[in-house]
């Protein structure tokens, strides 16, 4: 099921997708930080189309950035020959963004809320992305199946 979805994602380019409501929109990009801005814009445009105001749209934009940055950094270790699959969908009262990769799975069970003052003391450069995603979105789901990882982030209208 998941494999079939990924296959269909590869064949789609975002500009070919319909922008009609109730639809799923896809984007496939190389796992490069240089693609963060275009993915943010792609998702933000759909959030606006869905009826979100500026604050919610900015929250969705940031959550997507954090999730994609984590894939680039942790799932793929900055290997930009790898691909990231982004899909956006909605129904009457909620909007979701799913980001998929084929890299190292994120272990949500081992996740601990970061102690920001302690991280600053230790001169750590970040490590707060997942925390932000959880704060910004209404629901976050992680799944791994057949070596495909997915984070699905949901926001209610």
């Amino acid at each position: 099921m998941k494999r079939k979805l990924l296959k269909s994602l590869i064949m789609h380019q975002p500009e070919e997708d319909s922008l009609s409501d109730q639809s799923v929109n896809h984007m496939v990009v190389a796992a490069s930080t240089g693609n963060l801005a275009s993915v943010r814009e792609f998702v933000a445009a759909r959030a606006r189309d869905h009826g979100f105001g500026q604050i919610d749209t900015e929250e969705i934009r940031l959550a997507v950035d954090e999730a994609m940055t984590n894939v680039i950094k942790h799932a793929y270790g900055y290997d930009d020959s790898k691909k990231i699959y982004i899909s956006v969908g909605s129904d009457a009262d909620s909007f979701w963004v799913a980001i998929q990769d084929n890299g190292h799975a994120f272990d949500i069970a081992a996740y601990k809320t970061p102690d920001v003052p302690e991280r600053v003391k230790q001169r750590k450069k970040g490590g707060v992305g997942v925390y932000l995603i959880k704060r910004l979105m209404d629901k976050v789901e992680y799944s791994t199946q057949n070596e495909h990882n997915e984070i699905k982030m949901i926001k209610k209208l």
């Binding site: 801005a37 940055t69 003052p117 600053v120």
Partner: protein
């Protein structure tokens, strides 16, 4: 292609970095390089002016997380000024206002540096 820029200038004994555009994992290394260059040159009083910064992700915040302790140990500081509301909200979500000197206005931050060294 990258929509991010840093300009540096000096006001009295303070180094000021003007950020513009979008600060994310792609552009954060530019900011990090700028800050480490200042530290290497012995310039420890730094103001980062956010007037024209439209967007920040945690990769941008990470740069401030990584260098503030070192600068304070060296007798300096990084003060952050003139943030737009959306950018401030990201700092606020992570509790930065209690860890960093975030000020409305650059002139106020310059004055605070000068008073501290007087």
């Amino acid at each position: 292609m990258s929509n991010f820029d840093i300009r540096s200038r000096q006001k009295e004994s303070v180094e000021i970095l003007d950020l513009s555009g979008e600060l994310d994992a792609h552009t954060a290394p530019d900011l990090e390089k700028e800050i480490t260059t200042l530290i290497d040159a012995g310039k420890y009083n730094i103001i980062v002016n956010f007037t024209s910064l439209e967007y920040i992700s945690s990769a941008g915040l990470g740069v401030f997380m990584a260098y503030i302790e070192e600068l304070r140990e060296l007798g300096g500081d990084i003060k952050l000024t003139n943030m737009k509301e959306g950018v401030y909200n990201v700092f606020d979500l992570l509790g930065f206002p209690t860890l960093y000197d975030i000020m409305d206005d650059e002139a106020e931050a310059v004055k605070k540096f000068n008073n501290a060294s007087a």
